[in-house]
């Protein structure tokens, strides 16, 4: 009879703790292993493509390593580029948590950057204090970016307009608005080569972080990622967002203000992308022009999906893709490949990654028996 009674004995507290930890680790491992598998498979497929074209895949990945991570210079270049990627990926990840597929980060980045460049014009000509100017520029960028994606969220909730299509349309509209002003009334006539706004001047540029050549945008991206992670996982607001994202109808039945949550999530998301635009203007370009639409918003979509919309996971993924983007020029020169090579790699990775979604729950090793009711 002892063998029947035995399971009734309560497990000791220590072993329960270890069980919990092992369950969480195994569950978590699935979300790490499957995306890594997808990355490996897309690298393999891309290598096959290079072999078919008569290029060496080994050389390609060596160049990515050297151009993106190998030297102190290239690493700093990579980190510089991963800053807008973190911020635009947040622009995708946050709405995704409430069940929206928003892909308009590029437009919010462009308009945010443009807004901060416009705000800078009177301040710079009036010799306003540098710190105040930069703060106002950042606020302008975040505000415009937030409004831009906030509109997408509002249209989704109030009118049922599909947010994926509308956000991408808003990107085209945003770029057209910037071009309209940059080519017209706000054009800096001292710069005949490329239509731009008036430069903000070296004195007003955001400098590098101490001891590096990387501008403060990276720190802002990391801080925001951590802050949004805490917001989503440790606060009532985050809980409400996750409930609404899981089942909007149930959330409404619970009396959650789903519409308000959607608009707030989209506005925060747009503010992140707008901040990326501010840093592109204030730390890299020095003025607003067509170079702002460099495709960071689109790469950010892939980064967010690879990170499974987890703000913390976005940071390493953004650094990886920052490196790939940064090594694009080197690959173009050394291997004679077109500059769209990086685009092909990204597109392929995205397709394979989405195919890998089907693998979740298929591998026994990640499944914990009797733990289905725990999360």
């Amino acid at each position: 009879m002892a063998d029947i009674a035995e399971p009734l004995n309560p497990p000791s507290m220590a072993s329960k703790h270890w069980d919990d930890l092992s369950i969480r680790l195994r569950r978590g491992a699935e979300f790490v292993v499957i995306p890594l598998l997808a990355l490996a498979i897309s690298a393999l497929l891309f290598s096959i493509l290079l072999l078919v074209l008569g290029k060496s895949p080994i050389e390609f990945f060596q160049l990515v390593e050297r151009g993106g991570f190998g030297t102190a210079f290239s690493l700093q270049n990579t980190l510089q580029r991963s800053s807008p990627l973190i911020l635009t990926a947040l622009c995708v990840a946050l709405p995704a948590r409430i069940g929206l597929v928003v892909i308009g980060g590029e437009g919010a980045l462009v308009l945010g950057g443009f807004a901060s460049a416009v705000v800078a014009i009177p301040l710079v000509t009036g010799h306003a204090p540098v710190f105040l100017t930069l703060c106002l520029m950042a606020i302008a960028g975040m505000l415009i970016g937030g409004i831009w994606i906030g509109i997408v969220g509002y249209l989704r909730y109030a009118r049922g307009v599909n947010e994926t299509i509308s956000s991408l349309l808003m990107t085209y509209i945003g770029i057209a608005i910037m071009n309209f002003f940059v080519e017209g009334s706000l054009r800096d006539l001292a710069n005949p080569n490329k239509p731009s706004t008036m430069p903000i001047g070296d004195a007003y540029m955001v400098g590098p972080m101490p001891g590096t050549d990387v501008h403060w945008g990276l720190a802002a991206g990391v801080v925001l990622s951590v802050a949004l992670y805490i917001l989503l996982s440790r606060t009532t607001f985050g809980f409400a967002v996750r409930v609404a994202g899981g089942n909007a109808r149930a959330a409404l039945a619970q009396g959650l203000p789903v519409g308000k949550l959607i608009v707030i999530c989209c506005a925060i998301a747009g503010a992140c992308a707008g901040l990326a635009g501010f840093f592109e203007v204030a730390a890299i370009q020095g003025r607003a022009n067509a170079s702002l639409a460099a495709g960071y918003g689109y790469t950010g979509i892939l980064v967010a999906f690879l990170a499974r919309h987890n703000p913390l996971a976005i940071i390493p993924v953004a650094i990886l893709f920052g490196g790939i983007v940064a090594s694009g020029g080197l690959i173009e020169r050394r291997m004679g490949l077109p500059d769209a090579t990086v685009l092909v790699l990204q597109g392929l990775t995205f397709v394979v990654l989405l195919m890998s979604e089907t693998l979740y729950g298929r591998f026994k090793i990640f499944q914990v028996r009797g733990a289905a009711d725990r999360t």
């Binding site: 597929v101 299509i165 991408l168 608005i177 080519e183 769209a340 990204q346 597109g347 397709v351 089907t358």
Partner: protein, 306 residues
């Protein structure tokens, strides 16, 4: 502006509508077919660009623009087949796959299209609707391409087939209720796969029109959202092929506003007029998304309007 300028603008608008609308028409018809079967392919923007590149490259290498059109259709159907196959896998979201295919198609087109930016390929021949007026400007403005007529014919044929054929019924049933299609012994995945592939074929042809007739060259900025707008158009057209054709013509006119005003020397706000089609699309989406009629006509299995 004097009176003749108004006439020029009007003729340019009509001519522009006839020219600019064709890619919209093909993509919208392709998307209409796909969505009727209950699946959304947001990646048709990528298909359009890849079709444009393939059509141009094949036309340049073979000397036959019509072969280019066919090749563009085939390239489009490859992308459509990829989309159709991937969405068949369990737990895969068709909207996300569409975004991925958009990036993938554009990337592949830019990658292989680089050598074709400089050379000029043989173009599709066209005829003029305005030749009888004897006015050279009007004749020039009303140049139209046989593909426009093909597009209208496809639209009419699709509308007829949806209403009157067995296949049309199968597609509509798959789109409205997968369980009832299954109960009738229809393979839902196969129907959707075929519809997505055929939709990709049509979108690819739309791309060939861009590079082989109007604007008639291949470069990386060739399509800026036409594919996406055409997808939005299908919602506005409430999944009717005939309304897709009409909506495409309307959109063509909106897209022709900028160039038409430019032809009489009004360049002020050129970028604003460039934004006009996007803004129009957005307003049309706002107006049609919540409407009761759209809710009645939408295929039941569609995830885009939920």
């Amino acid at each position: 502006m004097n009176e003749s300028a108004y006439i020029i603008v009007l003729v340019a608008l009509i001519g522009g509508a006839l020219r600019v609308s064709t890619p919209f028409m093909f993509v919208a018809l392709g998307e209409c077919l796909t969505e009727k079967s209950g699946r959304v392919n947001l990646g048709l923007e990528g298909t359009l660009v890849l079709g444009a590149m393939t059509g141009y490259a094949i036309s340049y290498n073979s000397g036959s623009p019509w072969l280019g059109v066919l090749a563009a259709g085939c390239a489009g159907s490859v992308l459509g087949a990829m989309h159709g196959y991937i969405c068949k896998l369990p737990k895969v979201n068709d909207i996300a796959v569409g975004i991925a295919m958009m990036l993938f198609g554009t990337g592949v087109a830019f990658f292989f299209g680089k050598p074709y930016i400089q050379p000029s390929a043989p173009q599709l021949t066209s005829f003029s609707l305005g030749a009888w007026t004897g006015n050279k400007e009007i004749a020039q403005a009303l140049q139209i391409n046989p593909l426009l007529l093909v597009g209208i014919a496809v639209g009419l044929a699709m509308a007829w087939a949806f209403a009157n054929t067995k296949w049309g019924l199968i597609i509509r049933m798959t789109g409205d209720s997968a369980p009832s299609a299954k109960a009738m012994g229809v393979s839902v995945d196969l129907v959707r796969f075929l519809c997505t592939t055929a939709g990709g074929f049509l979108a690819g042809i739309g791309g060939a029109f861009l590079s082989l007739f109007y604007p008639g060259s291949w470069n990386q900025g060739l399509s800026s959202g036409q594919g996406l707008m055409a997808v939005a158009l299908v919602i506005f057209a409430r999944w009717s092929p005939i309304r897709c054709v009409i909506a495409a013509l309307l959109f063509g006119a909106a897209g022709a506003i900028g160039p038409a005003l430019q032809s009489v020397g009004i360049t002020q706000g050129y970028y604003f007029y460039n934004a006009a089609p996007y803004i129009l699309t957005l307003f049309i989406m706002i107006a049609s998304a919540g409407s009761k009629r759209a809710a009645r006509d939408v295929p039941g299995e569609l995830s885009i309007t939920k």
